[in-house]
């Protein structure tokens, strides 16, 4: 009996040791994976920051104003003024003929199973 208890204790000790060893290595692997992911996230954030800064730099009002001036011949952009406000009833209702013309397709159109209907 005593031999059995000793044996079981010894075996369970070996088992726990093995388990702890494996857990330790898995944790280490997970941590290094987390570290790698975080450095990826950091690098992505940095790229994103650079892109956002570049976007802001390219869209700065001074540059847009200069571009509008340079391209005045083609775009004819002027500063927004109060006489450009319109009322909704100043907009003509689109005529039906235009709409039907636009709806005519050339050739066949494939529809996906979600949007398509059986003929």
């Amino acid at each position: 009996m005593r031999f059995l208890i000793y044996g079981l204790t010894f075996l369970s000790m070996i088992g726990f040791g093995f388990w702890a060893y494996r857990e330790n290595y898995e944790t280490q692997a997970a941590l290094s994976e987390v570290g790698r992911l975080q450095s990826d996230i950091g690098a992505a954030r940095e790229r994103l920051g650079v892109l956002r800064a570049e976007w802001a730099y390219l869209n700065r009002p001074d540059r847009l104003r200069e571009l509008a001036n340079l391209n005045y011949d083609r775009l004819q952009l002027m500063p927004f003024s109060s006489d450009q406000f319109g009322r909704i009833d100043q907009i003509a209702y689109p005529q039906m003929t235009q709409v039907t013309e636009e709806l005519e397709f050339e050739g066949t159109v494939e529809l996906s199973s979600n949007g398509g209907q059986e003929p």
Partner: protein
Amino acid sequence: MNRIPLRPLARILHARQVGENPDAIERENLRIRHEQMRDKARQRAEGRLLVMGVMFFCAFAVIGVRMGHLAGSEPMEPRAQAKGASIAAQRADIVDRKGRILATNMETHSLYAHPKQMIEPERAAKALAGIFPDLDEARLTKDFTGARKFVWVKKKISPEQKQAVHDIGEPGLLFGPREMRLYPNGKLASHILGGSGFGREGVHSAEVVGVAGVEKFFDDQLRDPTREGAPLQLSIDLTIQSAMERVLYGGMNLLNAKGAAAVLMDPYTGEIVAMASLPDFDPNDRPRPPVSGSPSDSPLFNRAVQGVYELGSTFKIFAVAQAMDLGLVNANTMIDIRGPLKWGKHRIRDFHYYGKELSTTKVLVKSSNIGTARLAKMVGATRQQEFLKSIGMFDPTSIEMVEARTGKPLLPQNWSELSAMTISYGHGISTTPMHLAAGYAAIANGGTFIKPTLLKQGSPQKGPRVMSAETAARARAMLRLVVSHEEGTASLAEVPGYAVGGKTGTADKPKENGGGYYEDKVIATFASMFPAHDPKYVLVVTLDEPEENTGGEARRTAGWTAVPVAAEIISRVAPLLGLRPDIEPVQLAGITLASQ
């Protein structure tokens, strides 16, 4: 346990035989036994103390070693915690009210040298001086060949410069990652943003700290890692700010002014939608503070928040509104304006002769100093002080900039009746244009004082009431007449569809060394709101030493200088703010001009 008997029979018998006292043997044995017990207890206690000592030593040794390790090692990002992933160590961005970037960060590099590792220090110094023209070759050579082990060469270098330095091929020249603050819009809103510099610097990183403006005011918040890089959202609108700065710059040049300031504010929320002060600077390359001359001439000086000026007749509306609020006069009460008005040896005069008497409305429309001085006399110095205090004219503005506390109003030391009379038309009290905007906002929003703020607000502020809503409405109607009436001083401010109401103010500039005022230098101000019947925005424009020379003689009054600039700003900015041109209601709160 093996115990020695206290009365061993052999020794007792022997003692009886020789006639000794057997009790002595017992006492002797008892003594020996007690000594043994005592020795044993002491040994055990000593053992316990030793164990305790060892345990304490171990515990303190562990703590000490750990502390030493923490102090001596480079800080590491915590990786095992789940929350660690969201820590953003960067300084937070600053964005405008629509989320457009005003300030952000860029990765760049710093350049430093380890002269002991250098192979050809002289060649490296020469090549560096070739790449960076601002570096001195002789000084670099001295640094590289001397006893120093570490030399900073450049704090920030561009990728091209980095490649060029790399191509020198000198192993003693090293690069460190460095974060720098970038203001992509250049000079735009420079006074609001302020600027930033480096705090504690290391080879691997450097602290970016704010040095002025909101960057400094919100420094802790911007650097707080627990906010996870959430941007700081200001109330500024980039488009409006840009349009306003451009018009103001044009106006300043056209009118030969030395400087200019403008504040555009929402009178309900207190949000500053745009604020400009010219001349300005580029926060990416913030100039050093001037060491000589007047600090107010430096581009770093924010005229809108730091500059305290006598803002002249723009203050008249406060005297008129208070007199109406107290029930002393109404809009049609006739006021004696015969001059000059004498008080002691002082005389108060009007700019022109306006007749013997004018209605309260006309006193404001024609800007009569004598008329408002009489109103101030009726109100009295004490009540005037209370009123001006309630609209924030006594303290620096609470706007979120470090410079704001330097804009402390200048008040008379002894608030006599004469002071009350001159202050009623804006002389003897010096405030910033921001103070004036807050005061006009109280009239615009129906009589409550609100604090101007640079942070985006979700809802209107609930400030203390400083005048009744009816008084505010009447005051607005009067301000509208200053612009719309043909005799008004601000008739050039008429912008079709936007019903501008406002008051001009032209104040002579005091001489820097004291001793009176300049005769040919003025501060011209126009404080306005639009549309006057339902104000959505308050605009204050101030020009420093303007001069309009298109006529025969130089004209400096605000009506010819600040007013047209303000009108141009409104006509440019109002559509951008989404205000549709509107037809003004015909009857303005029952105001009629009685003296017509």
